[in-house]
Symmetry: C2
Subunit: 482 residues, 2 copies
C-alpha cells in the first residue's frame, strides 16, 4: 500500500489512494480524531492548505474540503487567510463515559427485559436444522415467479403509493384479500377492514397493547403457541390456559388457532366455537383468531373462520404469508371490526409495524393471477405426502411407544412420547443431529405432556429415514437413563 | 345470471356458474348459514347427495365436497348411506353478541388509546397534497433500477435467508451498511451491531419500551419531531423539552437529530454534542440519534454521527431509506452497542417489527453497485435547487415579513411567520389549496413559535409560484382577521 505521510507540527496525516474513502475524507477523519483525542490541543494551528497539499501530493481543493468539514463541525476556526485553529472544546471527562462492559452499558428497563426474554424454543444447533416446526419448504418456493411479480410490482407502483399514504395497506391488496378471505375462509369484511402488517408477531404485540392493561389476563390454548405467549408476557399480561374457564372473568385477550391448533393440529368444533364467542362477548374480551396455515389442510377445504360466525363478534382475524409463501416475505394481515379501523390504523402508524409496498402489490398480483392457488396446491400435496409418510414410518418403527396420528394439514405434527422420557433431553439430542424439533412440554402452561413437535414440509424419504434412525438412538439413550 | 334452484325440504339452495366461488363452496356456504341461523333445525336431514345433484344439475362429487365440509365443521352428522342430519348446536343467545356500534365494541385499553391518539399533524386534504414536509420526490425515485435490483435479489435469495433465521437483518446488508456508515457517517460498528427494521417509527416504539419504564422522562428537541413524541407518549413517557436541563435528572431517553434538526434544519455543534454525550452518560440515559436525512446535506459532506464520538457512548444510531429512497420501501436500521446486540435482537423478534428480505438484499445491491450514491447525487442537487429557489422567492415576495434562510439540506424548511399570525389557520388554508404544509407551533412542547414547515423535494418552478401566490392570500386573510 502506498502511503504519503506528512509530518507537520508533531502529528502525522497518512493517506492512501488504494482505500475506498476519498482522500479528503481520510484527511478529515485523522484530524478529527486527533483533535477530539486532544493530541492537537486547543489554539494550535493546522498546516495551511497549500503546505498540506504539497506535503501529501494532493490538490488544494482536497485539503480545503477536509478543512471545511472540520470547520462546519466546529472543530477548527478559520479566519480568512489564516491557518485553521483548533477551538476550545468542553472538557469531557473520559472516565465519565462508562466502559463497554455489561455493567457499564445502560441496562434494559424491566419491560425491556420482558421483550428480550425468550419464551420460544430455539433449537440448539440453530442455522440450517431440518424439520423445524413451522418452517415451510424453501425448495418449493416459486422463486422465479415471485421475482417476476416483485419486478412487475416495482415497475407499476408510483406516486403516493410509494409515500406515507397507505401505511396500513395498499388498496389493491386490501381489495384482493377481502375477496380471497370471503371465498376461502368465510371471512366477512370490507376491504378497508384489512390492515397489513410485516408479521403475525407484530400484530400480537400491538393488539396486546391496544386491548389490555398491564396485569390483565390473556388466555392461551393448552398447549399453545409460544409466539403469542411472548407477545402477552412482553405486554405485562398474566398468561393463563384457556382450559381454566374461571379465568375468563378477568381475561381481556383470548388467542386461538381454531382451524388447525398449534401445536396439536386439532380443529375447534362448532360447539366450542360458538361457546367461545358467547363467553368472549359476555366478558368483553377480544378474540385473536390466528389462521396461520389453514390454506393447506389436507382434507377438503378448511372450516370457515371464527370471524365469519357473527358479524358482531369481537374477533380479530389474523392471516399470514409466512407459511403459504415464506417467512422472509414479511407480510401478515388482520381483519378488524369496522368500528376499530381508524383507531387501529392510527395505532399501527405509531407502532411503525408496516409492510413494504412492492411486496404487497406482488402478493395481490400473485393471488389474482392464480399463481398463489397453484402454489398452495403444490405444497399441499407435497406436505401431505411427507407428513403421512412420516406418520406411517413412525408407527411402523415405534409401535405404540410413540403416539402419532395422521396430520390433517399444515407443516408440523406432535409425536407423543412415553411419560418416562425427558422430551427436552430428547429434543436436545435430535437438535445435535441437525433436526430442529421442539419439546412439546415447553408449550404447556400447566401440567406438561411429553412429546416432540416435528416439522415435515421438507421431510423427504432420506430425511424421514435419517430422522427415525436418530430418534431411535435418542429414545434408547433416554431409556437407559431411566 | 343463470341460477339453478332446488327447493327441497323447505329451504332453497341457489348456485350460479358465473360466480367466482366453486359450486361446492356455494352449496356449503348456504347450508352453513341456514344451519347456524336455525332455519334448518336440529335433527332435520339435508337432501341425499344424489337428490341434490340432480336438483342443481351438478355432479354428486360437488355435493359430496360440500357435505364433507359441513360434516368436518361439525354442522351435520353423516352415517353411511343416510342423508346428513343437522346436529344439536349450543344455544347462542344472539342478544348477548353486542351490536356493532361504538358502545358495543370492546373499547381500546388506556394504553391502546395512547397508541391510537394522533400526535402528528396530518394535512386536512390528505392524499395527493404537495410540498408536505418529509416527502421525497416520487418523480426522481429510480423505479426501473429498483425493480431490477428487487428482481435480482429475489432470484438470488434462497434457503435459510427466506426463513426465520435472519430476523434482525440479512448479513449481506449488515456488511454493506457497516462499511457505508463508517465511510459516510463516521459510525463505528461491526456488522452484527446493525439491526434492520421496517421503519424509524418501529425503532422508536421498541426502544421506548426497552429503555424506559412508564412515567419516565423522555427528552425531545424544542421544536422536535412529532413521530418521536408519538412513540414516547404511547410508551407512557413524560415528554419534556431537551432545553430544560433540570429534566435530565429523570430522563431515560433522549431523542436528537444532530445532523439536520427536525424541523428547524439546524446542526448541533461539537460543543453541544460533547456536552450531551457527557450528560447522558452521567445520568444513564440512552441517546437516540436519528440521522434521517444526512445523506443529502447540500454543503460538503455531513458531519460525522454522534455515535462515532465515543466507542462507549450510550448512543443508538438510527438511519432510514425513507428519505434517501422512498417511505414505502420500509427499511430502517440501527446501530446498537455490542453489549445490547443479543437482547435487542431478541426484543425485536418479540415485537415482530421485521423487514422483508428481498428489499434488504436489493438495498445492499443498490449501495454496492453505486446506484445509491448516484441517486443521492441526483436528488441532492434537485432538492438544493428547489429549496434555494423557494427560499429566494419567498425572500423577494415577503421581505422580512417571513423569516427564512437557505436550507442546508434535506427535504423541508421552516418559514417563520409574524407573531400575529395563527399558523394553524394559515396551514389549514394552504392545505385546502393542496399544499400539505404543517404549522410550526404544533412542534413545540413549551412556548410555540409561529411558522410553517414546507417540503420542497418536488417544488418545481410552477409549484413554487403557486405556493407563494396561495401563501400571499393566506397571509392577507390572516392579516384581515386581526
Amino acid at each position: 500500500m502506498l502511503v504519503w505521510g506528512a509530518s507537520l507540527f508533531e502529528h502525522v496525516v497518512a493517506i492512501s489512494r488504494e482505500e475506498n474513502a476519498p482522500l479528503s475524507s481520510q484527511i478529515y477523519q485523522q484530524y478529527r480524531e486527533a483533535i477530539l483525542a486532544r493530541r492537537i490541543p486547543e489554539g494550535e494551528r493546522l498546516p495551511s492548505s497549500r503546505q498540506l497539499a504539497i506535503g501529501l501530493s494532493v490538490s488544494r481543493n482536497t485539503v480545503n474540503t477536509a478543512y471545511d468539514l472540520l470547520r462546519s463541525e466546529g472543530l477548527v476556526d478559520v479566519r480568512s487567510g489564516a491557518r485553521p485553529e483548533v477551538v476550545a472544546l468542553p472538557v469531557v471527562e473520559r472516565s465519565s463515559l462508562k466502559e463497554e462492559n455489561i455493567e457499564g452499558v445502560v441496562p434494559l428497563s424491566s419491560r425491556g427485559k420482558r421483550f428480550a426474554t425468550n419464551h420460544r424454543y430455539y433449537c440448539a444447533t440453530g442455522r440450517g436444522a431440518h424439520m423445524q416446526p413451522g418452517e415451510p419448504s424453501k425448495e418449493l418456493f416459486p422463486k422465479e415467479q415471485w421475482a417476476r411479480s416483485l419486478r412487475r410490482a416495482a415497475r407499476m407502483l408510483s406516486g403516493n403509493a410509494l409515500g406515507y399514504e397507505h401505511a396500513s395497506g395498499l388498496p389493491e391488496l386490501q381489495r384482493v384479500l377481502a375477496q380471497y378471505l370471503a371465498q376461502e375462509r368465510g371471512v366477512i369484511c370490507a376491504p378497508e377492514q384489512i390492515l397489513v402488517f410485516p408479521s403475525v408477531q407484530s400484530v400480537l404485540s400491538l393488539m396486546s397493547q391496544c386491548f389490555s392493561e398491564e396485569g390483565d389476563v390473556a388466555l392461551l390454548e393448552e398447549p399453545g403457541y409460544l409466539g403469542a405467549k411472548s407477545a402477552f408476557v412482553s405486554a405485562g399480561l398474566d398468561v393463563q390456559p384457556l382450559t381454566e374457564s374461571e379465568q375468563f372473568q378477568r381475561a381481556s385477550l383470548i388467542y386461538v388457532t381454531p382451524s388447525h391448533q398449534y401445536p396439536t393440529g386439532k380443529r375447534m368444533e362448532m360447539t366450542e366455537r360458538l361457546a367461545l364467542l358467547k363467553q368472549a362477548s359476555e366478558k368483553g374480551a377480544v378474540i385473536l383468531e390466528d389462521d396461520y396455515d389453514s390454506e393447506f389442510l389436507f382434507e377438503g377445504r378448511p372450516i370457515a373462520a371464527l370471524q365469519g360466525l357473527s358479524a358482531h363478534s369481537p374477533v380479530i382475524y389474523i392471516g399470514t404469508s409466512a407459511k403459504s409463501l415464506m417467512p422472509g416475505i414479511r407480510l401478515a394481515y388482520i381483519v378488524v371490526p369496522k368500528a376499530h379501523v381508524f383507531d387501529l390504523a392510527m395505532a399501527q402508524r405509531t407502532s411503525g409495524a408496516l409492510a413494504n409496498v412492492h411486496v404487497q402489490l406482488a402478493f395481490a398480483d400473485f393471488i389474482e393471477s392464480g399463481h398463489f392457488r397453484a402454489h398452495l396446491n403444490k405444497i399441499r400435496s407435497a406436505y401431505h405426502e411427507n407428513g403421512s409418510a412420516l406418520c406411517k414410518l413412525i408407527g411402523e418403527r415405534f409401535g405404540n411407544q410413540i403416539g402419532v396420528s395422521m396430520p390433517t394439514g399444515g407443516l408440523q405434527m406432535p409425536l407423543y412420547l412415553p411419560e418416562y422420557c425427558d422430551d427436552v433431553e430428547i429434543a436436545d439430542y435430535m437438535n445435535a443431529q441437525g433436526y430442529g424439533v421442539n419439546p412439546l412440554s415447553g408449550f404447556y402452561l400447566g401440567e406438561p405432556v411429553k412429546g416432540l413437535i416435528v416439522g415435515f414440509a421438507e421431510a423427504d424419504e432420506r430425511r424421514r429415514l435419517g430422522f427415525v434412525t436418530a430418534l431411535i438412538e435418542a429414545m434408547n439413550c433416554a431409556g437407559q437413563a431411566v
